[in-house]
Amino acid sequence: MIPAAVFESGGDAATALYIVAFSLFILGVRRGTHPTTAKQGNLIAAVGMAVAVVTTLLLDGIGNWGLIALGLGIGAAVGVTASIRVQMTEMPQMVALYNGVGGGAVALIAWSEIRHGISLGEEIPLDELIPVLFAAVVGSVSFWGSNIAFAKLQDLIPTRPLAVPGQQVINALLLVGIVAACVDIAVDNGDPSQAIFIAILLAAGLLGNLVVLPIGGADMPVVISLLNAFTGLSAAAAGFALDNVALIVAGTLVGSSGTILTMEMATAMNRSVGNVLFAGFGGAPASGGGATEERPHTSIGAQDAAIKLAYADSVVIVPGYGLAVAQAQHAVKEVADELEKRGVTVSYAIHPVAGRMPGHMNVLLAEADVPYEQLREMEEINPEMPRTDVAVVIGANDVTNPAAKNDPDSPIAGMPIIEVDQAQQVIVIKRSLSPGFAGIDNDLFYEPNTSMLFADAKQAAADIAGEIQNL
């Protein structure tokens, strides 16, 4: 038997160590907001977590070491393996999954607490019961909602908005039902029904599914961030139920900082959080959507593209998710190198939400050793677009759609875009004319000065680099 029970649960020593732990969390998050200190901040927070876990393991009342070892072992093995194996392109769904299991843990803890309360056969005090119910509902919503977000980003289910008629009404009814069931349990706190509690878990899970399903893939980072804040709050609620100060502070910290972060992310996309949640892309009958009739477009091959690029003075490359999927960053860098040898000025226009997470493109291009100075932000590059000879759109779609500016009825109206349509010529490298994340047609493809090069981004870039060498 491991000699545990060094600290009295809720005693001064344990609390002091918890204070150390959450101070490290706050410091870690603070550092995480600056590029130079972010990595260190993450490490500081991880140390805080280690302190919190070790402290808890040494509390009195901790037992069943075999099960604890099993849980820790499985969790660590899965977490480490998944984190090492995951591709940079799959980071957002990985975060969604981690968030989901966190929410799931909260819901399970709540369930265990209520079973424990029932088995004691005494009245469960409301200041414990109410947080347990809150944790159960929010944890379950977060678990299922995150899983749907994961499935959408992993293309396990369609990324376009899936809506059921009368969705908002169904969601509202579910929510009312959940609240009513919670009130029922709280009123009957002398002998709460476990069956009703399980029903609450299931209904909350269904609600999580229904809320996230109608949201389009492009909005997923905002949704994941919001669910992240929710899980934080539910962890805080679990802290109230278990009288654990570390859980209360850490959970609340994540809840509030996550809320601010969610709002900042939505602002970067020129959308409000409410808009994301209740008016998913394509929710309104879109003029450009639905009917994708044959529209005339110009299609070219790698050789033509190479010629256009090689004889240009300035080229702007606009990367998007397609580049990430095809892992084309090195091939694209090769094209840029060839062009620079010929005296062409090359820069990269980075849309704040290009790819599936903010900063996605910066990460990929940094990996291919693209000089930092060549990465230009949207606001910076847009005024230069009319003076740009050729804009090359590689695997990007919605972030270049002029409908966002020109068509007030478009579902993406008002979203800031990279104004490639202002460039003298546009080459779009894409596998097909199919619509992007938002599920709407891109008018850019049918502009007279746009040439489409239908190919995999990596292959196309490699071909173009080869053709430029041959010129």
Partner: protein, 106 residues
């Protein structure tokens, strides 16, 4: 701990969270989300506590899964964040014209 003490802590922590996230550059949104995500993995402490109180087979199972889930959240969360930030730190530091930027010079 009394309920009111807990609520006091909750409210103060909420304000700390709001204040700590000031203006975050877009490129750090995802890593920061991932880091805070790892921090709420602290629920694994709850798993450790409930598994000690468990008194039937189902509770053992629930508690063990809760620990495993929480551990995945913590371990995976911090590691993935570290990987993301590692990609950033590899970019070349020298930014010749950025000398005066920090001080607001032109």
């Amino acid at each position: 701990m009394s309920l009111m003490t807990e609520i006091t802590i909750f409210v103060l922590a909420a304000f700390v969270g709001f204040e700590v996230i000031s203006k975050v550059p877009t490129t750090l949104h995802t890593p920061l989300m991932s880091q805070t995500n790892a921090i709420h993995g602290i629920v694994m402490l709850g798993g450790l506590i409930v598994v000690g109180n468990a008194n039937d087979a189902l509770e053992y199972v629930i508690g063990t899964i809760a620990i495993a889930f929480g551990t995945i959240n913590v371990v995976g969360g911090f590691m993935v964040t570290d990987r993301m930030l590692g990609m950033f730190s590899r970019k070349p530091k020298p930014k010749p014209k950025a000398e005066g930027d920090g001080k607001g010079g032109s």
